[in-house]
C-alpha cells in the first residue's frame, strides 16, 4: 500500500541490487544467473497459483497444467521447424506471450467452471486429474489421424511434438539485445515481466476484486449473502491465476529453447504449492521468498553441497560420500522444510501473524465499553441512499404461502409474512421452528418448494443470494459469520462490493474514477464502523474482536450493502441485558433515521417486544400467531409453545 512512500531508500537499494546483480555475478564468476532466472520463472508461477490458493482459497493440485499450456502455446506458435500445417511459420515472441496468457486464462475458466460447486478435497482431486490429463494429452497429440470411413481429413498431424516435445522454440527478437546463451538478457526480460506481474497483483489484491477473493476464501456463504457473486469471483481467480502461468510458460519455453511434456508433471504442481505454503499463502512477499528459497536451494545449494561432500569424501577416503548426490534428496529436504515451517510458523515464513487483540485496558470504565449509538453518528451517505428509494409497493417484503421441505421434514408450511415499509417485524418461535430457514429462503440460500416472495414489487424466488443483496436485502447470521482473517475495515468494504464497479483493468490501471470510488468506499466504511462503535479498530483482524464487537461488525457489513430491508438473526444472542438495550436503540435508530425495514429473529423478549411493530410466531414450520406484541404475549398458543409462564415474572424482574 504505502510501503513505497515510507521506505523509498529500501526500495531504491533493492532495485539497484537487482540491476547490478548479474554483472557482479559475472565479475566474480559465480554463474548463478541462470538459476536465479529460472527461479524467477517459478516465482511468477507461484504468484499466479497464489491468486487461486492464497487469495481465493481454492486448493489447486494441478497448476502445472497451466504452465504447460503457456509453454506449449509459445512453443507451437513460435517454433520455426514444427511440421504442422497449422503453425507454418513462427510468430513473434511478443505476440505469442499474450496469446499464451489468453489461452491459459480461457483454460482456467474451462477447468474452473465444472468445479464451481465443489470445494476443499473434491476441488483438489478434480484439479489433480486435470494436471494429469494435460501432459498425457500433449504426449498423445504428436501423431493425430482422424478417419471417417475412407476419408481422412487429418492424417498423421503432429500437433504437439508428442514425447519429443517442441525443439527448437523461437527466441524473442529485440533490436540490439542478443537473446542467446548469455543468461543476462533473459534475466532482465524475466525481471521486467515479473515486476509488472507483481505490480498488477499487488493492485488487484487491494481492490474490490481482491477483497472478494478473500471473502470467498473465508466464508463463501457469507460472501454470497454480502453481495459477492461466488461464481464469477472464482472463475476470475482461475482465469487470472492461469494467465500469469501463461507468461511464465512462454518465457520458460523460449529460454530453454525446447519443451517436453515431462517438464510439467505432478511434482511441478506440488513444488509450486510448496513455494506458496512455505512462504505464506496470500502474501506476495512470502511467495517470492518461498519460490526463491526452494529454487535456489535446489539449483545452487544442493549442487554446491554435493561438490563439497564429494571432495570431502575423496579427501578422507569414504567412497559413499565421494559418490553422493544430494540433488536426489531434494524431495526429502522440501518435505522436511515444509514440515518444520508448518510446525513452527503455520502461517508461512512471511504470512500474516494471527495475534489476538489486547483486552480492554485496565483503566477503561466498564460502562464505556458499551457505547450507545448516536443520531449524529448516522453516516450522511446512508441517509442520502435512504431518500433515493423508490416505493414500488406498499409492503417492502411480501411472502405468500412459502413452503420448504427437507426430506420428510416440513421446515416451512405455507408461511405468509408481510413487512410494511419502515416497519420492524419480529419473528419468534421455538427452537427448530423454521425461523432461520425462513431467512435462508428470503435471502436465496435455500430455494422454496412453493410460494411467492416479492420484494419492492419484484419476485425474488430463483435469484442468487448476491443478486438479492444487490436489490436491497442484507442479513446477519445466528452464529456470527465474519471474514475472520480479514481486517475490520476489509469486512465492511466487502459489504460495499456490490455498490462498487471496478473491473480487472480498472483495478490494475487505477484510472481517476477507480481511485475516487475506492477512496469514497474506504471513507464510508470508516464512517459506518465509527457509527456502530468500532472506530479505532479498523485494522484489527475480525477474528480477534471480542464477541460483542463481532456482532456489531456483522451489522456494519450488512449496512454497507445499502439495504432497504435488514434481516437480523438473533442479534442479541450472547449479549447481557445492557448490551441488548444498546442494540435495541441501534435498531430503532436505523428505522427512524434511515427508514430501514427490519425483520428480526430474537429470543430476548425485552428486545423483540420492545421494538417490534408486529410479531409473527412459527411453530413446526407453521405460522401459529401474528399480531402486535401485546396480543402475542396474551396468545395462549404462543405461551404454551414458546413463552412459557415463567417469562412474565422474568420481565418484571
Amino acid at each position: 500500500m504505502t510501503v513505497d512512500a515510507r521506505r523509498p531508500l529500501g526500495w531504491a537499494a533493492l532495485v539497484a541490487a537487482l540491476l547490478v546483480y548479474p554483472f557482479v555475478d559475472r565479475a566474480l564468476g559465480f554463474q548463478t544467473v541462470h538459476a536465479v532466472s529460472d527461479g524467477m520463472i517459478y516465482v511468477l508461477l507461484a504468484l499466479g497459483l497464489n491468486i487461486v490458493v492464497g487469495y481465493a482459497g481454492l486448493l489447486d493440485l494441478g497448476y502445472a497444467a497451466f504452465f504447460a499450456i503457456g509453454a506449449y502455446s509459445m512453443g507451437l506458435l513460435n517454433s520455426p521447424v514444427l511440421g504442422s500445417p497449422l503453425y507454418g511459420y513462427p510468430w513473434s515472441f511478443w505476440v505469442c506471450i499474450w496469446i499464451a496468457a489468453v489461452v491459459s486464462a480461457l483454460l482456467g475458466v474451462a477447468i474452473g467452471a465444472p468445479t464451481l460447486r465443489v470445494r476443499g478435497d473434491y476441488l483438489a482431486i478434480i484439479t489433480l486429474g486435470f494436471g494429469e490429463i494435460i501432459p498425457v494429452a500433449i504426449r498423445n497429440l504428436g501423431d493425430v489421424t482422424i478417419e471417417i470411413g475412407s476419408w481422412r481429413p487429418i492424417e498423421r498431424l503432429n500437433l504437439t511434438g508428442g514425447e519429443n516435445g517442441v525443439n527448437p522454440v523461437g527466441r524473442p527478437q529485440l533490436p540490439g539485445v542478443p537473446f542467446e546463451t548469455d543468461p543476462v538478457p533473459w534475466y532482465f526480460l524475466i525481471l521486467v515481466i515479473g515486476a509488472l506481474s507483481l505490480w498488477a497483483m499487488n493492485r488487484l489484491r487491494d481492490s474490490r476484486l481482491g477483497r472478494a477473493w478473500m471473502a470467498i476464501r473465508e466464508d463463501e456463504t457469507a460472501a454470497d449473502c454480502t453481495g459477492v457473486n461466488p461464481i464469477s469471483t472464482k472463475l476470475l481467480a482461475f482465469a487470472l491465476g492461469a494467465s500469469f502461468s501463461g507468461f511464465a510458460g512462454s518465457v520458460y519455453a523460449a529460454k530453454l529453447q525446447a519443451i517436453t511434456p515431462g517438464a510439467f508433471e505432478f511434482q511441478v504442481s506440488i513444488m509450486l504449492l510448496c513455494m506458496v505454503v512455505l512462504g505464506g499463502a496470500g502474501s506476495l512477499k512470502g511467495v517470492i521468498l518461498g519460490g526463491m528459497l526452494i529454487t535456489l536451494f535446489d539449483r545452487v545449494v544442493l549442487t554446491q553441497t554435493t561438490f563439497m561432500v564429494r571432495a570431502l569424501g575423496r579427501t578422507i577416503g569414504v567412497p559413499a560420500l565421494a559418490t553422493a548426490d544430494l540433488t536426489l534428496w531434494r524431495w526429502f529436504f522440501f518435505g522436511l522444510g515444509l514440515v518444520l515451517v508448518m510446525l513452527l510458523r503455520p502461517e508461512g515464513l512471511a504470512g500474516r501473524r494471527l495475534r489476538p487483540a489486547p483486552v480492554a485496558d485496565e483503566a477503561e470504565d466498564i460502562l464505556d465499553v458499551v457505547r450507545a449509538p448516536r443520531v449524529d453518528g448516522v453516516p450522511e451517505w446512508l441517509r442520502e441512499r435512504a431518500q433515493n428509494g423508490v416505493a414500488a409497493a406498499p409492503a417492502i417484503l411480501d411472502v405468500r404461502s412459502v413452503t420448504k421441505r427437507f426430506g420428510g421434514v416440513v421446515a416451512l408450511n405455507e408461511v405468509d409474512l408481510v413487512v410494511p415499509r419502515g416497519a420492524i417485524i419480529g419473528l419468534i418461535g421455538p427452537n427448530g421452528a423454521g425461523k432461520t430457514t425462513f431467512f435462508n429462503v428470503v435471502t436465496g440460500l435455500v430455494r422454496p418448494d412453493g410460494g411467492h416472495i416479492t420484494f419492492n414489487g419484484v419476485g425474488l424466488v430463483g435469484l442468487r443470494p448476491n443478486a438479492i443483496v444487490a436489490r436491497g436485502i442484507a442479513r446477519t447470521f445466528q452464529s456470527i459469520r465474519l471474514f475472520q482473517n480479514m481486517t475490520v475495515l476489509e469486512n465492511a468494504l466487502v459489504g460495499e462490493h456490490c455498490r462498487l464497479t471496478a473491473t480487472v483493468p480498472g483495478a490494475v490501471l487505477r484510472p481517476p474514477a477507480v481511485i475516487a470510488e475506492e477512496t469514497r468506499a474506504r471513507a464510508r466504511a470508516r464512517e459506518l464502523l465509527t457509527f456502530v462503535g468500532l472506530g479505532g479498530k479498523e485494522n484489527e483482524l475480525a477474528r480477534n474482536l471480542p464477541y460483542g464487537d463481532q456482532r456489531r461488525l456483522e451489522i456494519a457489513r450488512a449496512l454497507a450493502t445499502e439495504p432497504r430491508l435488514l434481516l437480523l438473526d438473533e442479534p442479541s444472542a450472547g449479549m447481557n441485558p445492557r448490551e441488548a438495550q444498546t442494540l435495541t436503540e441501534l435498531i430503532g435508530l436505523l428505522r427512524r433515521e434511515l427508514a430501514l425495514s427490519v425483520l428480526l429473529i430474537e429470543h430476548h423478549m425485552e428486545v423483540v417486544m420492545g421494538i417490534s411493530d408486529r410479531i409473527t410466531v412459527l411453530d413446526y414450520g407453521t405460522r401459529i400467531a401474528e399480531g402486535t406484541p401485546a396480543a402475542i404475549q396474551r396468545d395462549s398458543r404462543v405461551i404454551e409453545a414458546y413463552l412459557g409462564t415463567g417469562y412474565e415474572q422474568d420481565l418484571a424482574g
Partner: protein, 235 residues
Amino acid sequence: MLDLADVSTYYGNIRALRGISLTVAPGEIVTLIGTNGAGKTTTLRTILGTVRPHRGTVSFNGHRLDTLTTNRIVRLGIAQSPEGRRIFPRMTVLENLELGAFVRPDREAIAPDLERVFTLFPRLRERSAQKGGTLSGGEQQMLAIGRALMARPALLLLDEPSMGLSPILVDTIFRIVEDINRQGTTILLVEQNARMALRVAHRGYVIQTGRIVLHDAAAALLRSDLVRKTYLGEK
C-alpha cells in the same frame, strides 16, 4: 473441590486473566458473570487445560490441573458444555449423546441417562436419527448440553447454556441446572442472563477485564448496585 489461586493466563503477550482466585465447593452452583471479553470463557478454558495459566494454580479434588492434558482433566470428572456448540455435525443426535458418555466406566447407567436427556429435551428424541449438523442452532445447543450431561461429571462447566434458546426453554434449562445439582453434580455456570443465573446459583463472582471485582452470595449480588446497573440493565 475446584480451586483457582491467583491464575493469570495470556494469549500471546496479552493478559486475559489477571490473577483470578475462585473456589467451588462440592454440591454448589457457582456463577461467573461479566461482559463480553471480560475473561469468563478464558477461565473455563484454563480449568479444562485448553489454555495454560502462566501463573497460579488450578486444582481439583487435590489434583493439579494446570499440568494435565484436557482429556486427563475430563477423566477426572469435569465436563463442559456447550463449548461453542461444537457438536459432531456428521454423526447422528444419538451418536453425539453416546459419545458424551465415552469416558464413563459405568456402562449400565448410560441408558437411563440417555432417557433422562430425552425427557429433558423431547425435541432431541424426535430428531435422534438426524445428523447433528442438520439441527437448528437452538437444537444444537440442546444437544451440546445433553452431551455434557451424558458424561455425568462431578463438576459441570456450563458456558452460556441459555444462549439462543426460546424463553420457555430458558426456564427449562435453569430448572435442569437446579435438578442435576440436587442429584449431586457441582456446577460452574457462565451466563449472560445474569438474573436467571443468580437466581439458581448459591454464590457468584463478577469478573471485569480479567479480574474478580466482586464475589458474594448470589442473593446479595442480585441486590448489589454494580450488578444491577452493569449486568441487569437497570437504570
